[in-house]
Symmetry: C2
Subunit: 188 residues, 2 copies
Amino acid sequence: MATTPRAGKNSRERILDAASEIVAEVGAGKLTLDAVAQRASLSKGGLLYNFPSKDALLKGMIQRLIDQVLAEKERLRTSLAGKRNLEARASVAASLKLHSAKINDVATGLLAATAENPQLLEPARDVIKVEWRKLTSTAEDKEAAMLAWLAIEGLSSLEMHNLSPLSARQRSEVVTAIERLLDKGIAK
Amino acid sequence: MATTPRAGKNSRERILDAASEIVAEVGAGKLTLDAVAQRASLSKGGLLYNFPSKDALLKGMIQRLIDQVLAEKERLRTSLAGKRNLEARASVAASLKLHSAKINDVATGLLAATAENPQLLEPARDVIKVEWRKLTSTAEDKEAAMLAWLAIEGLSSLEMHNLSPLSARQRSEVVTAIERLLDKGIAK
DNA sequence: GTCTATATCAAGATAGAC
DNA sequence: GTCTATCTTGATATAGAC
């Protein structure tokens, strides 16, 4: 039903789609080669031809996810151009926008999957470092920008693990407060 | 070397210690019944007598961790008594204090371990909900308290996964900024 | 309450045909 | 490039003796 159309895609993309769907729907613990192969409508052998190991598959999934998030942030940065603490705003907006999307469930699962092999997170580390550097070096109010970014990070991490205690009302209060923080800063 | 003394403890505690050490040192992916039994100096059969399944073991680990964190927060709340936005401060202080401790590595690992069985996080969900309710209902400045708590949550989540891009300097700037936020609030 | 031995199973990976 | 069949391993869990 909610399955992405896969006709016309090459095997690699089809496999990545299938794997992401599994992670999003039933969690990384159920991400087996068998399951991926079945969902991508090909055999395990065919799967392993495209991704020679499970690690290679995870690596591919993570890279694609990173690319998607960066692209979204890029779009939002453009649409927010001219605002104060722009980079922080773009990050906040991207995080909020992606939250409701399937992509977030994938991220959650992948994060869990990296527990056995933290090295898989290396590309994410690099990206975060670069984006953070942009954020801190271009902010009009560095402290506000850092806090806003961290707060959104906290919110998103809690929601990822389904641990968020915020009511819908509180959540929107928080979003408003973050915007105000980015506008006005911390009181003197 | 850094092994906790285990003489005089009952099997249950010895097992929980051993399991926590494994998770902290080599990650949840290596938390096998064999490894735990060996480290706790007993057989796999003996282990399974105390915890009839791996899930039961994980459940025990998580509960003990929650108890430890709550106890730490309790102590800190007392020592901070009288300050503005007390609950938020106690959470922030507890999070910062626990960061350097072994307990944080255990938490990281356990979080990963819950990927296969999200239900294990249920007790954590409950505790977070209760603490959040205290925080929001007693805060002198609710918005500041919420943001401070979320920011610390974000920092701690990033550090858990070794994803934090903050330099040592920036980290202490952030801590200072959070304190200021709790003192003065967001600017009007 | 703890031990040894073993059953069972799931999953990643390989080999070679087509 | 994809398939089937098979190997191998590592892990949970059970059974029954001590």
